[in-house]
Symmetry: C2
Subunit: 133 residues, 2 copies
DNA sequence: TCAAAATCAGTAACGATTACTGTTTTATTA
DNA sequence: TAATAAAACAGTAATCGTTACTGATTTTGA
């Protein structure tokens, strides 16, 4: 099954590249719909999965029920705000070495890890009231 | 809404305590059904959520579509086998300090992190064929 | 320009989980 | 012990994110 070009997939990728938050499939759908009003949600899901399988984007499971997508595939970590739900990229030094710590005394092969940090983001720390929407 | 005792909840908690793998709700249901044949899946979900909210058990989002539950609420990390899907407790030294690394140059409050490791478990490394079920 | 294959839009189905409803248990008070 | 209110129950329906299906449209290479 060779992959063929599709304008919808290109638009989805382009949209993701413009965003630094990490949108869910329905947010992608809402935005790409402005360019292709007839695009279907199934097409969005199919292409997000395709792009992730090709390694062009990253799929994030953050435990909030919906998958998030990130056009930045370089090694980096994420922060999830417990108040507003925002997902923020962290610039932090590598913690790859935790793989070796995990491997000590373990009889399998550690291939990698999934880590995300949580807490309260800068904006929510500032105004003490805001809550998730 | 004060919490009242329930035999079903006790049985769910007891079952979880006997297990070191980290069963999903339907596995809990299947097993507790042997003691309370009329228990309903909704009761299992409700009590798992209750126990997790009370801090008596831990809910794990491992990105495989189903939540897993762990009666061990002490600080420890998990390994997920990419071949057989097994979830294994890791005995490893604390990596709590990654919270501070994440906080460097970040303007919010880091409260904690979720980490799990993946790769191939000891058993699957041994026999090269096995796949997830 | 033609044909094969991939992709599409639209819709139905799926699986995990949650919500609803009338009945049963639990806990309290008499 | 009996009465009562509140919580939990079983059973079922609904929800929600996601995937699968179908016949029409696009892409691509000859």
């Amino acid at each position: 099954m060779a992959i063929k070009y599709s304008r919808q997939r290109e638009a989805i990728k382009e949209f993701l590249c413009t965003r630094k938050d990490h949108p869910t499939a329905d947010v992608v759908y809402a935005n790409v719909s402005r360019i292709y009003p007839n695009i279907s949600l199934g097409t969005v899901y199919r292409n997000l999965t395709l792009l992730a399988d090709m390694g062009e984007i990253q799929r994030l499971h953050l435990g909030d029920g919906q998958d998030h997508f990130d056009a930045d595939t370089s090694e980096h970590y994420h922060f999830v705000c417990q108040k507003c739900g925002r997902v923020i990229d962290l610039q932090m030094e590598s913690i790859e070495r935790i793989n070796e710590l995990a491997g000590v005394g373990f009889d399998g092969q550690i291939a990698g890890h999934i880590t995300y940090f949580y807490g309260v983001c800068g904006e929510c720390s500032a105004d003490g009231s805001k809550s998730a929407g």
